[in-house]
């Protein structure tokens, strides 16, 4: 009845992750909390999943086959699968696995001694990676919902993981309450989408939305746009877009710093993946697209402005980074709003967002690796704790400056490539206002980043401050992220091609549906 064995092969990265998590939990249980190679198991799992992803990647599109776990009767496709394993999925699988792996490595030293449940912590990171992979390839509203909630629940637990720590608790609870309310709204919106189209399968929704004889075509925007608005509440919560961002500062500040690092990249990328696939493949219809482009443009502008302005007054670096990463989500949305654009090297609007995410991930994880190292040594995450860091840990200080410059978008660095792609896409689609806004708010960002830089370089270290020792694992992450940040900036060609291919997968399904449309 289904292409089960082929599907399982295509699903191997997720299978590996789940099995790895189960093994990790069992080993941790048996070893009674002692060190028994938990790190090796976890990292090995991630590496193996990454290998599987890269092995599957050149296999190209699996969509022609109806997706994974599609239902067949006598060889005829009767229902598209809930998961597709295309270039887009592979790209986001890579993003999720790499970011989880880097967060794991940078957090290893930090979590040691802070919680007795390190095995569970690792397993939860693996489950997070699974959930993000699922979000990347989810092609059915039900799986979208389940995957998003999977990621949410694991991240709530991770945020509140240090249960003796009142701030971690508080962060977890706030994250949970905001998250549950927004996801309830999202679920309500999803039911309306189901009602408007009669199915939960995204390809079929795409068909229904585009078909000219759809009963709803006359008031499409009347139902679908309000429901998309509700769905955006849920996705916007994961991505931390402006009306749904209030959780971010508290959750970022209270969460264990490695979790903060993870929250700033993982859920954001996965949420963007869902958003991109839904909007660019399922809800791309001539009558519909202009409406949501306007909506997204509005959100993008609000997010960039509010995120950057609110960051100005922050004294805690984790809070500052929270607002900074809210603002970064705004820049990503500029790319989404530039739907229909084609810029540098045939990069579509979708491609620019993908490229931006790629650049952002390495920059932010690198930056947070530095913050984790400082936090681990000083137990303090206020900006004042960075006074004289140049003298205490030159590597950290210099690396942080590079990452900040990349986030601001200074030329030969990754952030510049991402911003350039996104803004040029905005300009080609006449969203000049958004592009100008992006550049202006970038200047604001430079101001608050500079406050940290000033503390590191121009203020004296407190008396008796010892040099900060950086663990080998942390320095590995910092060096790796530095290398990638510079590499993407200096040799953007390869990465542009990767982004273009990833985007092409989603466009391909969209084009199929468009062909159906044209046939009518």
């Amino acid at each position: 009845m289904s292409n089960l064995s082929a599907s399982l092969v295509q699903f191997s990265p997720e299978l590996i992750l789940v099995i790895g998590a189960a093994v990790l939990l069992t080993v941790d249980l048996v070893s009674n909390g002692r060190e028994a190679g938990q790190n090796a198991i976890g990292l090995g799992t991630i590496l193996l999943a990454l290998v599987a992803t890269f092995w599957l990647w050149p296999g190209g599109l699996f969509t022609a086959d109806g997706g994974l776990f599609a239902t067949y009767i006598d060889g005829a496709l009767v229902r598209p699968g809930a998961f597709v394993s295309d270039g887009f999925t592979h790209f986001f699988r890579m993003i999720s696995l790499v970011s989880t792996g880097l967060v794991w490595v940078s957090g290893v030293t930090f979590m040691r001694g802070r919680t007795p449940f390190r095995g569970e912590f690792g397993a939860f990171l693996l489950f997070c990676a699974t959930a993000m992979n699922l979000m990347a390839g989810a092609n059915d509203l039900i799986l979208v919902l389940v995957a998003i909630e999977f990621l949410s629940i694991t991240s709530y637990v991770l945020t509140g993981f240090l249960r003796e720590n009142a701030r971690s608790n508080e962060a977890g609870l706030k994250y949970f309450l905001y998250g549950s309310i927004t996801s309830a709204a999202m679920i309500f919106g999803l039911t309306y989408l189901f009602g408007a189209t009669g199915t939960t399968s995204l390809p079929l929704i795409a068909e229904a939305v585009r078909s000219p004889d759809n009963l709803l075509i006359k008031d499409l925007s009347g139902v679908i746009i309000p429901s998309l608005l509700l769905v955006l509440a849920g996705l916007g919560f994961k991505i931390a877009l402006v009306p749904f961002h209030q959780w971010a500062p508290d959750a970022y500040e209270g969460a264990p710093t490695p979790v903060t690092s993870f929250l700033s990249v993982g859920p954001k990328a996965a949420g963007m993946a869902v958003l991109l696939r839904m909007f660019f493949s399922a809800f791309d219809a001539p009558l519909l697209t202009p409406h949501w482009i306007g909506l997204i443009g509005l959100l993008a502008g609000a997010t960039m402005i509010l995120g950057n302005l609110a960051a100005l007054g922050q004294t805690d670096i984790k809070r500052l980074m929270a607002y900074s990463s809210i603002a970064q989500a705004g820049y990503m949305l500029v790319g989404v709003a530039s739907f229909g654009a084609t810029t540098m090297g045939n990069l579509t609007a979708l491609g620019t967002v993908v490229l931006y995410i790629l650049a952002y991930i390495f920059t932010n994880i690198g930056l947070f690796a530095c913050i984790i190292a400082v936090d681990h040594a000083t137990g303090d995450s206020r900006v004042d704790a960075y006074d004289g860091l140049m003298r205490r840990a030159p590597l950290l200080a210099v690396a942080m400056v590079v990452f900040f410059l990349s986030l601001v978008g200074v030329p030969p660095l990754a952030g510049f490539i991402g911003k350039f792609a996104v803004f040029s896409a905005a300009v080609t689609t006449n969203h000049t206002t958004l592009a100008v806004l992006g550049v202006l708010t970038g200047v604001i960002a430079a101001v608050y980043y500079f406050r940290v830089v000033r503390a590191m370089f121009f203020r004296p270290a407190p008396d008796g401050a010892a040099p900060i020792r950086i663990s080998p694992s942390a320095s590995f992450v910092i060096w790796a992220c530095l290398a990638m940040t510079i590499l993407i900036g200096v040799l953007p060609g390869t990465f542009v091609r990767v982004a273009r291919d990833a985007a092409a997968a989603v466009h391909a399904t969209g084009a199929d549906a468009a062909a159906v449309d044209a046939g009518h």
Binding site: T71, L141, N169, G172, A184, F188, T191, G198, L204, A208
Partner: protein, 111 residues
């Protein structure tokens, strides 16, 4: 049966539950109360899903069962259970540290 009760009655009930839940979630001081509001919102969504399952035409190619609405509702029920378990664990854990479950008391972090 569907002839007598119009679909929008169900949708209205669903909207009412959703709205009441939203009010509860936004206005309660007690974190458990907020959670109850969230459960009401989810129930509203579920009524939608089941009502649509009953009334809405299934497009061709959408499989042989046409049970998407019910499956959706079952998934939401299971997710609600998982969410409630984690949420209440967080509430109990914070109560242990703070001796309070009032949301407004959780404001050590500001800025």
């Amino acid at each position: 049966m569907e002839a007598s009760i119009p679909l929008w009655w169900y949708l209205l009930v669903a909207a009412a539950l959703f709205g009441t839940g939203l009010f509860g979630a936004l206005s309660r001081r007690n974190a458990v109360g907020v959670l109850m509001g969230i459960e009401l919102m989810l129930n509203g969504a579920n009524i939608n899903a089941v009502a649509f399952w009953r009334y809405i035409a299934v497009p061709s190619g959408a499989g042989l069962n046409g049970m998407d609405g019910q499956v959706f509702a079952i998934m939401v029920i299971a997710l609600a259970a998982a969410e409630a378990a984690v949420g209440l664990a967080l509430i109990i854990s914070i109560y242990r540290n703070r001796q309070s479950v009032l949301v407004e008391d959780f404001s050590t972090m500001r800025g």
